[in-house]
Symmetry: C2
Subunit: 461 residues, 2 copies
């Protein structure tokens, strides 16, 4: 516990060069797909006015917002406050508005809503934006849960078209495939289907209880779910009606047929079915022979307090891991800031989890354009002088190159190339200077070959 040893705040992380190459690989891949589908990047400030964030994430969320202490004489302000109102009681809650006016971004959705309302006159709707920035939460840190982490969101606002939902499926499919994942499932559900089911049994107020219970089918089985439904206020009669839904099986078409029968009496339920069908129809027209791995999953019930239509969740089947993505449609993103009636839909990628999946499956590419291609060793002053115009020529041809900056021991120079994953080392000694043929060592295979300057440039380009 040496007090002098520097550390980072718990729940935060440094990213080393190797980690950055890998993180950039993930983010660049996802960005390229977002852009291909017409999504454009925006960024919002790390800090928002506290009033912009408060009350948007529930009471628990509010507690997890990192607040920024006001600059200047914050205590003087607190005392003024007390003088104004004698009844002022000092407490963390009462002091907060005096001590803090700003807070760190808690997610990307609320700042995006604020952005849309603030810039509504400059925006041409539908507005398709993506945003990849860190967010901060004063959560208890634990494995895989950080106080600072990146979110990676794409949202469209101002378009009701289900083409957007279909394209989100394709974005997931393309981005995850590009990252090398082979076996993953894009689960889809629709809030209206869930609402329809709750309506049929005449208990719309219990929709959340119902979905929470049904969601446990894989863990606790049919008996467990039925027991839980009873405890949550459903009758045996309700459960009887729910059974075909709880036990829904088969491919997407089969599930849809069965659901149609159950939901026939409810207009909202039928609307949900129709939406799913439309999305599947778009997908069929927007794909070649191989359809994306989409699976209608009636137990998918995330974000029920804001999603109003489609709900998405993505899981990898290659590694035991929670969801690596999710999203859905929300009918009123910007109402909280006074702009009503703007519908939107969005998805996000769980970058940290995707990192862990790629790491476990060894899917990160070995080579990267972010890494120096060749290190020229530095034997002595003569060799250095010989090397400098060569270094210029390499860089002039766009080859990332380094000359070791001093005539250190060759072992040290080799270790340097090794630690940076530099694939080639060029050895220049007096012999090489005389012959003009230089020795290039392939660091992976260990093989060496003699090459002229022109041959070197050709090989390394």
């Amino acid at each position: 516990m040496a007090s002098n040893k520097p550390s980072v705040p718990k729940g935060t992380r440094d990213f080393s060069p190797v980690e950055m190459v890998r993180r950039n690989y993930i983010f660049d891949t996802i960005k390229s797909v977002f852009r291909k589908y017409g999504y454009q990047e925006i960024q919002t400030p790390s800090m928002e006015n506290l009033s912009t964030l408060t009350g948007k994430y529930g009471d628990e969320g509010d507690k997890l917002i990192f607040k920024i202490l006001n600059s200047g004489d914050f205590w003087g302000e607190a005392e003024k406050q007390q003088q104004k109102a004698e009844a002022f009681q000092f407490s963390s809650r009462s002091l907060l508005p005096v001590l803090s006016e700003k807070a760190l971004r808690y997610d990307l959705t609320v700042p995006f809503a604020r952005y849309v309302v603030m810039h509504q006159n400059e925006i041409s709707f539908p507005f398709k934006r993506f945003q990849i920035q860190p967010v901060w939460r004063a959560d208890r840190p634990q494995k895989g849960r950080y106080r600072e982490f990146y979110q990676c969101d794409a949202d469209v606002v101002g378009s009701e078209s289900l083409l957007n939902e279909a394209e989100f499926v394709l974005i997931y499919q393309e981005a995850l495939s590009k990252l090398g994942l082979r076996d993953f499932t894009i689960k889809i559900n629709n809030r209206k289907i869930l609402t329809g089911i709750a309506e049929i049994i005449g208990k719309p107020e219990l929709i959340v209880d119902m979905t929470v219970a049904i969601d446990k089918i894989d863990k606790i089985g049919l008996d467990g779910v039925e027991k839980e439904l009873l405890e949550r206020g459903f009758t045996s009669g309700d459960i009887e009606m729910l059974r075909p839904v709880i036990l829904l099986k088969g491919d997407n078409a089969e599930k849809l047929e069965k659901l149609k029968a159950v939901l026939e009496p409810t207009s909202v339920g039928k609307a949900g079915i129709k939406e799913i069908e439309t999305i599947f129809d778009y997908l069929a027209r927007l794909s070649s022979s191989s359809l994306p791995n989409v699976e209608l999953d009636i137990t998918l019930a995330r974000g029920l307090n804001y999603y109003t239509g489609a709900i998405f969740e993505v899981k990898t089947n290659e590694v035991a891991m929670g969801s690596i993505g999710g999203g859905g449609r929300y009918d009123d993103l910007t109402g909280m800031f006074g702009l009503k009636g703007l519908t939107g839909a969005g998805i996000s990628f769980g970058a940290d989890r995707i990192y862990d999946v790629l790491d476990e499956l060894k899917l990160f590419p070995e080579q990267s354009s972010e890494i120096t291609k060749v290190l020229i060793t530095n034997f002595d002053q003569d060799a250095e002088k010989y090397a400098l115009p060569l270094l210029f020529s390499f860089r002039n041809k766009g080859i990332a190159a380094e000359l070791y900056p001093s005539a250190a021991k060759i072992k040290k120079q080799m270790a340097y190339a090794d630690s940076k994953n530099i694939p080639f080392v060029l050895l220049i000694g007096s012999e090489e200077i005389q012959s003009g043929e230089l020795t290039l060592k392939d660091m992976k295979s260990g093989q060496q070959e003699k090459l002229t300057k022109e041959e070197l440039i050709k090989k390394l380009s």
Copy 2:
């Protein structure tokens, strides 16, 4: 002053899609050059322990650090503190350690030093890193000064070689040229030359006063500088000796010759001259016929409380603007965290100012791979069905493409393409569906041409 209207904290900014394309263009260009010279990216957390930052930026800097309010019952903690020490006086200063343990990054240098010390056993020195991340300062916001802004730094630690300094000049030269700047000056000076001059007149303790006064030569002229030197404690005799230095003129070689004569009696001054000469020699060997625009500038005196060798500053001559970059060598980066004797050198780019320069000179590229290449209009359901496989084909060939998601008025769809700077719009009506020849409109020239699907893909790829 409608209280409901959302806003961002003063001194912070949203970045729109157009601004992001331009900012990415600047950062991507600089990054590609950093990487070409062997610099690797790292990232550090946005928040550091307050103790990591306090005392590193002087008293004024400490005041400008944004502190994060502790989570949980911060006031309860303050009261406990008082109970422990009855003499505890409530004030902003005394309460700070109780209310806040973390703070936002104030620059990239101190977190980098902390990183090097924490990870010293994993790092293979020399360690060449770059870092492009936001920093936060509770400064009074004004034109061109923000409370959140990006810094863009490259540093090498663990290498004394002046090759590093020469490469920094080349990095500036290459990055700024790539961005389209044609007339800029990379100014170089050496702290040892300044120390040598102060030594000769026997007033080393007045080195800062001397450089501050000399630095004003352009603004207040020789008389003004001499007057200020007198006020700052120099004698007429000192000023007599300083005059050749204050009036130094000519090209780099001429200046070096004159300085050599003046500095002959001081070993430190001569060492400074030698360093500049070595850097110039590296530059001559590392360049083709055209040498970089480097200028020895003896009045350059930035960062004197940390730079110990070379000092850099970059100015554009095409627009009235402060410096767009700067840096230098420091002998003890990590000493503040207990790791002594590690020398380093670094430079930074002023991204916000470079943005303004490129904007004023209209140097941002019109086309960007970040922007959708073609928008397919949506006339009606039939046209949409016809368009979907086409949309798939475009994307399958890597072409960023969008289908307008509803059959809105064509004028609205065109305005959408316009606002997103989409260069081509594909018009599909019943005529086009029948003939199989589609109408492609070039949004810039306004010209239209009829093309088959294969011709379209060829043209847009």
